[in-house]
Symmetry: C2
Subunit: 424 residues, 2 copies
């Protein structure tokens, strides 16, 4: 195969006929496959089954009676220690929450909106509140800010992270800019990890708004696919050294470590931010589920046990990522009708189609029974200006289904690309 | 002993000297006791230890793989069934949440404030929002409304519930009144249960505000101390029959059934309210901890198992309530210096001192090492106009400590009452 753009109209028409036939044949299979969400599959989840045995009726609670009752708002010591190791900080910076880091982020946005941070004006009293949104990004982040009527400003990204010139321009000069969403390591969905320089420039921001915060969603901090892996610089430390200790809320969870939905989530932040957050939390909560915190702390007594566990996860995930990438390489590279990421960790592959093709590719996949993340979902308000970014989530389907789904996907990419070129 | 009010000044002075000596002796013991919070004690919590074994690594998840992943926002079927039986409704009215009903209530208030119910104006956009607060009531309810700057209006209660003439006056004529806090069975702290007539009058309210809601915190719905027990009328059903289906948010949890802090909480409401709540929740959460929901559903396969469990709880609690009441009866009844409740369930005894004595009684107890709930805590803004209501929480201390604490309490009641009479 040669690059599509080098083909004559007749060649393209012939190819279109072939591809249409293939598409019809696959459609007749009535597939029901899903590559939409970054969900661990059952085999990954099964890795953590022994965690369920760590706390049972014979567990010795004699020195931990408090864990069975109300209270301990910032989490049990063992869980604070676990997260402080994951996030490379000290336990006093940690609040351990319930089962979802998304809920912590929602809560922090909601608190900014209703009460404000560290004595600043609640956002609901302001005419305009804006958030910066590096794109492509995580649709659930954007959904939260949109839910609170916060104006979202897309910020482009390259392999080093967000466009920091633009970030500085907004943050340092517009006091209605109150936050930025970041997934700094194995970004959702591009897979890139912010460079040290980018992290340092974040730490040295001089925000016009005192209540500007970096929402540092370190969702994939230990979610490496290979031994050789990325390691994003420690932002809490960098902010502290830059004299900006209160600049960041950092989030993480065990949702993609143990059980999605039955894991434990945490926030790390400055001592002042923590105190401010706890003043709110003490009204909101009687304490989070300390038994589930204890289960996790027992199952991961140290970082080594956690790393070994994540290597097992990687062994299950790696073949899926590699299969998708191999098919892309074989089927799409020669045609030059797209680019894609080669992540060293995280949960996603980003595919960039020719311009104005993504929606149709997703639609064609859907019509043949393969659900992808909606085109545009990785942009604020669901609007991808180039209509070219598609998020591929290879983790959930079993390998054979993933193969079928990917083959359909590349077929749809080809078909839509040919149609696009023919219509030019 | 005769009633204090019938004593001469000399008799009172003699008594004061005796009581002061006794108080000094107890003070010298350096007690460290706590009757402040309605916390189950360790023996109660231990009743539920087998619950920790219901889900282990050998559990057969083959038909329940979804429970180990993200999703199922309104809770797993088994848990919805459990709560629908507790709350005498059908599963489609239930949302099962995480570990705390307080957090659900906070969320609902917060949602009213930021987004509004069923399309109504968010409260943060209004000049004035008011809540009715039957008194004495639950301090954590009042803390939530105060946190959101909502004006709280105290509503007096008798043995049948809140003063419904006053409730109707406010709710039916003032559209800034957006809610009322109710603990309808074994009220915190008075122990009373709302009569059928009161529940019917609630159901037939004609609120001036479309977004007025009854916050029906059925915290003690199955928390009976005796076989002969109260049973509050089903408000959801009553509201539906009255043509007011959206009037109520009903809350409950297993915090005082299994593990405080590691239980499961739920809300029951109309289908429209549920849909409206889920639109918000889908932005906020990736689903609550379904494994803990499953643990509870496995441990309580039916209402009989739940009732039997609560009978065991009652056997542990009853002696504590009865000991406190016996000491009150023996030591305080003859002196006629207070009244107290005789609850058939729940977690509290309410003590009513002579006027303007409560703060000093609590303070004197504190100085001798016994922590009580702050005087005034059961009123909005911590202000008890008569300074007479004290909430006694007998559940947490072991029986011998509870005896010491109660004896100190009655001593302080006598001492402060004598001082009050002498100062008149």
């Amino acid at each position: 195969m040669k690059p599509l753009k080098e083909m004559s109209v007749d060649e393209l028409k012939d190819l279109h006929q072939q591809l249409s036939n293939q598409y019809q044949n696959i459609k007749d299979l009535h597939l029901q496959l899903n590559m939409a969400r970054g969900k661990p599959d059952f085999s990954q989840v099964q890795l953590s089954m022994p965690l369920l045995d760590t706390i049972n009726s014979h567990y010795d609670f004699s020195t931990k009676k408090d864990y069975l009752n109300y209270g301990i708002l910032d989490g049990i010591d063992e869980a604070k220690r676990l997260f402080s190791q994951m996030l490379e900080t000290t336990p006093e910076h940690i609040i351990v929450y319930g089962n979802s880091s998304l809920t912590i982020m929602f809560d922090q946005i909601s608190r900014g909106y209703t009460h404000g941070y560290l004595g600043n004006t609640p956002w609901c009293r302001l005419d305009k509140v804006k958030f910066l949104c590096p794109v492509p990004g995580y649709d659930r982040h954007f959904a939260i800010t949109e839910h609170f009527g916060i104006e979202m400003i897309p910020i482009s990204m390259d392999d080093n992270g967000p466009d920091m010139d633009l970030v500085e321009k907004y943050v340092n000069h517009d006091d209605s800019v109150k936050g930025i969403w970041c997934v700094p390591q194995y970004a959702n969905p591009s897979g890139i990890t912010y460079s040290d320089e980018v992290v340092q420039r974040f730490a040295h921001l001089k925000p016009a708004a005192k209540d500007f915060r970096i929402f540092w969603d370190n969702a994939y901090i230990i979610h490496h696919l290979y031994d050789k892996h990325d390691h994003v610089m420690n932002i809490l430390e960098a902010c502290e050294e830059a004299g900006n200790p209160d600049l960041v809320f950092e989030f993480c969870s065990t949702s993609k470590v143990t059980f999605p939905g039955a894991g434990v989530a945490a926030m790390a932040t400055s001592l002042d931010n923590k105190k401010d957050t706890l003043k709110h939390l003490t009204i909101q909560s009687i304490g989070h589920d300390k038994l589930n915190q204890l289960r996790h702390a027992e199952y991961f007594p140290n970082m080594d046990s956690l790393k070994q566990h994540m290597q097992k996860q990687a062994e299950l995930l790696r073949p899926k990522f590699e299969m998708v990438l191999d098919i892309f390489e074989e089927e799409l590279a020669p045609l030059q009708i797209g680019k894609w990421s080669h992540p060293l960790g995280g949960y996603f592959i980003t595919f960039e189609s020719l311009e104005n093709c993504a929606s149709q590719i997703v639609q064609k996949c859907k019509e043949a029974g393969v659900i992808l993340t909606d085109a545009g979902a990785t942009f604020p308000y669901g609007k991808d200006p180039d209509d070219s970014t598609i998020r591929i989530a290879p983790s959930f389907p079993p390998l054979d289904e993933l193969k079928q789904a990917t083959e359909l996907f590349v077929l749809c990419v080809k078909l839509v690309s040919v149609e696009k070129l023919l219509s030019l």
